[in-house]
């Protein structure tokens, strides 16, 4: 960049454009070395292109586009300049029009902005390519230049405190019913004003502004404010992706029409244009007609980094029903039943049909079509597995408030706080632990040991025609209860068994997701895509697909036979910390450190639901077995329940005092179990929580809920471990609850 600047200056000197050169120099210092250089590189590109001739039109087009974009914010004078003669003349014309320093600054800042986004393109040195890249950026973000120019406006910095306290006074004096809603304004306004002061390098004013008003904000924003307090210089803002996203995305507020009118009138009558500008540019006010909300209702829904969700974000149709199970006859050979009949159909019992499949022949309107997304076909081993599943389901204990599950806790000893991930197979035969020393350890929970397939040399010696060939291929000599898998080069943060128990996935801080074979206990594939720590991964309930989410703020959908992801789910403002498949495998829920939960459609990658309400990063998600509801747990200790179809919060379970790391519904959905860092497992009555839902028109239209304070009624039991945080929960097929955690001695 520096070299480009030097080259441009030399060129100008050569062409005797003294004036332009001086102005460029001045702008370079105005914006800072690095920024100015980047700002000038498109200008330089235009200039260099002019004599070069080939990039001429590109440079001119770029300049005109850039200035056109800036003109939106500034106003017509520059545009007329841009439409004049090519390259050099255009640049020469810009400096005279530089009478308002803002024009150049806006152009410069826009280019800086473009360059910061184009950083990954690395196109700054290529005029042609940059013209294209710059063009793309301009078209995608037409309001970005407006955002930046707003940040560039030098409202009097010393008056910021006056503006803010004036607004504060007004809101506190307003009517009770409006006050709660208007108080939502405080936080986004505070952050944006602070960032504006920092960006324009008024450090001392920013600091005193922060000191004065940060205590007024809601308690659940304290973590954000702490991060904000460390951003005191403009350079600090550049490296922080979350803050950059916060700056550019609009904070959504839901305010009733009456309150909004009140606010608008007040802001427009006083000379509070600064605040009005910020409100217009950085905030998105979703107005609804109806009663203003109470503080309690608002508190339940706010907390995320970008405010609440717009109503239309939750309006898309979601197919939350389950896919139909294929029907087939269950072969009967129950050992406890007396008299195995040779014919295969005992006269005493009727053949059991799959209860799910045969009940309704009609298509469930809420279920996705069978072939909406391609799913792997059922193999024979899968069919056998399903048969086993159904047999176990017949012996399942029906849970309820009178019949609570027994809990079997697996404690990992000597893990020294290194246990970072746990998973249990569906039939509860194996348990895997991912550790901070980058190993993945698989244990067998049943007395049957873990066996791997024999080596190729041994396999050539066995009799391939014998009936028990599947037993013979297993190596008895190396059978053990524990198998350790080495391969990752960083702590393993997520593990997941495949439904057919052939594969194991693990994701780690080294940025890869590894597929391990559970038949040879070796690593098969390393999927590289995230270049940053991957926090969670999960196999689809039908196998073949899996999802992973990581520090790069996206979740990716993979298939085991593609080395690149099939879908990328981008939209979160901060790391994706938790990823789960819906039981019908058509949707993926992701929880993030930006305190929202999003539901994505696998078919086209769209975000179909945004759920806000948590006050901390989300660490656990669980879909109910019928696919209609989602339970989420976060660091704030609350478990929130959501209705997927309507996109509403339907329940809030308070009780845990620390992060909820594990959530699981029982097999028929009657009980929700939650495990937390506060060393307890709590059982909640899910049937009661989901009955009597108010889903009248007003609620669905406005998204406002009235949550009953019934956490105590729903709590069925609290079970404490001595000093073991609960990391994983699993209901066996017969509804026994298994829990896992690592003993920590403090």
């Amino acid at each position: 960049d520096r070299q480009t600047l030097v080259a441009v200056l030399q060129f100008l000197r050569r062409s005797n454009l003294r004036e332009s050169e001086e102005i460029l120099r001045r702008e370079a210092r105005l914006l800072g070395d690095d920024l100015g250089a980047a700002a000038l590189s498109p200008a330089g590109a235009g200039l260099l292109g002019a004599p070069g001739g080939d990039a001429d039109s590109g440079g001119e087009a770029l300049l005109s586009r850039v200035t056109a974009a800036a003109a939106i914010a500034i106003g017509g004078s520059v545009a007329t300049v841009a439409s004049s003669s090519p390259g050099v003349a255009a640049v020469a014309a810009v400096p005279p029009g530089k009478g308002e320093p803002r024009a150049g600054a806006a152009v410069g800042s826009h280019c800086m902005f473009a360059s910061s986004f184009g950083m990954s393109y690395k196109l700054l040195l290529y005029p042609n390519a940059f013209a294209v890249g710059g063009g793309v950026v301009v078209e995608d973000q037409p309001d970005v230049s407006a955002v930046l120019s707003a940040y560039n406006q030098q409202g009097d910095p010393t008056l910021y405190e006056e503006y803010y306290s004036g607004l504060k006074h007004f809101i506190e004096c307003s009517l009770d019913c409006h006050r709660a809603e208007l108080s939502q304004l405080f936080y986004p306004l505070f952050v944006h004003m602070y960032l504006e002061l920092v960006y324009n390098q008024h450090e001392s004013e920013a600091k005193s502004f922060f000191e004065r008003f940060h205590g007024d904000q809601e308690c659940y924003y304290q973590d954000d404010l702490r991060v904000l307090s460390s951003l005191t210089k403009k350079e600090h803002m550049k490296g922080n992706e979350t803050m950059l996203d916060f700056r550019t995305s609009k904070f959504v507020l839901r305010i009733s029409r009456d309150s909004y009118q009140l606010l608008k009138r007040h802001l427009q009558e006083k000379q509070n244009n600064q605040i009005w500008n910020i409100v217009q540019e950085h905030l998105y006010i979703d107005i609804f007609d109806g009663m203003p909300r109470s503080k309690q209702q608002i508190d339940a829904m706010v907390g995320s980094l970008a405010g609440e969700a717009k109503r239309e974000a939750n309006k898309a149709k979601v197919f939350f029903g389950l896919l139909k199970e294929p029907e087939f006859d269950v072969p009967l050979d129950d050992e406890d039943e007396e008299g195995e009949n040779e014919e295969g159909k005992p006269k005493k019992k009727k053949p059991k049909k799959d209860s799910v499949g045969s009940k309704s022949k009609k298509q469930d309107p809420n279920a996705p079509p069978q072939n909406r997304i391609p799913l792997p076909e059922l193999k024979d081993s899968d069919k056998l597995d399903k048969v086993m599943n159904m047999k176990e389901a017949a012996r399942r204990v029906r849970l309820g408030p009178e019949c609570l599950p027994s809990i079997c806790f697996y404690t990992f000893l000597n893990a020294y706080q290194g246990l970072t991930a746990v998973d249990i197979t569906d039939d509860s035969s194996m348990i895997v632990g991912g550790f901070a020393d980058s190993t993945v350890r698989v244990w067998s929970v049943t007395p049957k040991k873990l066996r791997s397939v024999k080596t190729a040399a041994d396999l050539s010696l066995i009799d391939k025609e014998s009936d028990d060939v599947l037993e013979r291929i297993m190596d008895e000599k190396t059978a053990s209860e524990l198998k350790i898998l080495y391969g990752h080069s960083g702590p393993v943060y997520g593990t997941s068994f495949s439904p057919d128990r052939n594969y194991l996935l693990s994701c780690s801080e080294d940025g890869t997701v590894r597929l391990w074979s559970l038949q040879t206990f070796t690593c098969l594939v390393g999927y590289k895509g995230h270049n940053y720590p991957v926090w969670d991964t999960q196999f689809s309930p039908y196998g073949y697909y899996f999802v992973s989410g990581g520090h790069d703020r996206v979740a990716r959908l993979w298939a085991t036979d593609h080395y690149q992801p099939l879908r990328i789910f981008a939209g979160h403002l901060a790391d994706v910390t938790c990823t789960r498949f819906h039981p019908n495998s058509n949707y993926i829920a992701t929880g993030s450190a930006d305190r929202t939960v999003r539901l994505w459609d696998v078919l086209n990658g769209n975000c179909v639901r945004i759920f806000t309400g948590h006050k901390g990063p989300i660490h656990s998600l669980a879909f109910s077995p019928n696919g209609r509801f989602l339970a989420t747990g976060a660091t704030d200790g609350r478990v929130l329940l959501w209705d997927i179809g309507h996109g509403l919060m339907v329940g809030e379970l308070k009780g845990h005092t620390d992060t909820v790391y594990a959530l699981r519904f029982s097999r028929d959905g009657e009980i929700l179990a939650s495990g937390s860092m506060d060393n307890t497992v709590r059982l909640w009555d899910a049937v009661k929580a989901f009955e009597d839902l108010e889903t009248d028109d007003f609620t669905t239209a406005t998204g406002h809920i009235n949550l009953p304070e019934n956490s105590q009624d729903l709590l069925l039991g609290t079970y404490m471990t001595k000093s073991t945080p609960v990391v994983h929960l699993h209901f066996t097929r017969r509804n026994l609850l298994l829990a896992a955690g690592a003993y920590s001695s403090q």
């Binding site: 520096r2 800072g32 070395d33 690095d34 986004f117 950083m119 990954s120 793309v136 950026v137 995608d140 973000q141 702490r226 307090s229 460390s230 350079e235 490296g239 992706e241 950059l244 996203d245 550019t248 995305s249 997304i373 391609p374 799913l375 792997p376 076909e377 020294y416 706080q417 041994d458 391969g487 052939n502 597929l515 074979s517 690593c523 098969l524 594939v525 390393g526 270049n531 940053y532 073949y544 790069d552 703020r553 996206v554 298939a559 085991t560 593609h562 099939l566 879908r567 990328i568 789910f569 981008a570 939209g571 696998v602 078919l603 086209n604 990658g605 769209n606 920590s744 001695s745 403090q746």
Partner: protein, 255 residues
């Protein structure tokens, strides 16, 4: 682990106190005591790197002293190198849009384990055997390269071959001063012949005649001793495959 014990104010150096204060300001209340050391190390290393770079830049610009611009440039250059941050949001949205436009690929039925093409898997062998050097099969009377090879049981798939050599009488000549190299689990003692071995010849010293394989040797040390006869062309037909096997192993050992 014990909860963090702060060093008492008067004994901790000033830098450590500052670092502890920074951690407190950022809201971190529980940390192991060594964290302060690590943070101080990082801070020291980072600052010295930046300042050294800044000195280089300022001397390049022929300035008399380092000023803020040099430091700023040094920081900027180092940031791109050492601290990468995830891609910006609009870039992610862009590539997501591109990726999500392609429909989901259909799944081929009955295709065995569904894995990516082999070059993207980790299933290839990560070793390669060194190619054979064909030993010239010389005429009779000169062949004998009898060897005594010792190996652990588990690595020897040729366990069943124990039976055959023991039936034969072998003649083994020991080489004086052979370095026995223990590589991994097995080691080979190379015993070049000094003379032709015949079935019932009376060899000169130092040779051992008629060594019978004693199966009891296997038990205690878990070391299997197999002796393969590579002798005259009388037995060459049946022992040639054995010979080749040990040639391989021998070369492999020498790598």
């Amino acid at each position: 682990m014990e909860p963090a014990k702060m060093a008492s104010p008067k004994s901790a150096p000033k830098d450590a106190q500052v670092m502890a204060q920074i951690l407190k300001d950022m809201g971190i209340t529980e940390y192991e005591p060594r964290v302060i050391n690590q943070m101080l190390e990082f801070a020291y290393r980072y600052v010295t790197t930046i300042l050294e770079d800044a000195k280089i830049y300022s001397s390049h610009a022929k300035k008399s002293s380092v000023d803020a611009d040099d430091v700023r440039l040094a920081i900027q250059c180092r940031t791109d190198q050492s601290f990468t941050s995830p891609p910006p949001r609009d870039f992610l949205l862009d590539i997501a849009r591109q990726k999500n436009q392609t429909p989901l690929p259909l799944i081929k039925p009955y295709s065995g384990p569904r894995l990516p093409p082999d070059r993207y898997c980790l299933t290839a062998p990560n070793y390669r055997l060194k190619s054979l050097q064909k030993k010239v099969a010389s005429s009779a009377g000169r062949i004998t390269v009898p060897r005594l090879s010792v190996g652990a049981v588990s690595s020897r798939p040729s366990t069943p071959t124990l039976g055959t050599p023991s039936a034969q009488t072998v003649s083994v000549s020991a080489k004086v001063g052979t370095p026995v190299s223990l590589t991994g689990q097995r080691f080979t003692v190379q015993i070049p012949s000094s003379q032709a071995a015949v079935k019932s010849a009376t060899p000169t010293t130092p040779t051992v005649q008629n060594v019978l394989i004693n199966p009891s040797l296997i038990g205690p040390k878990n070391i299997l001793i197999t002796t393969n006869v590579v002798s005259s062309q009388n037995t060459s037909n049946e022992s040639n495959p054995l010979k080749r096997k040990h040639e391989d192993d021998d070369d492999y050992d020498n790598l």
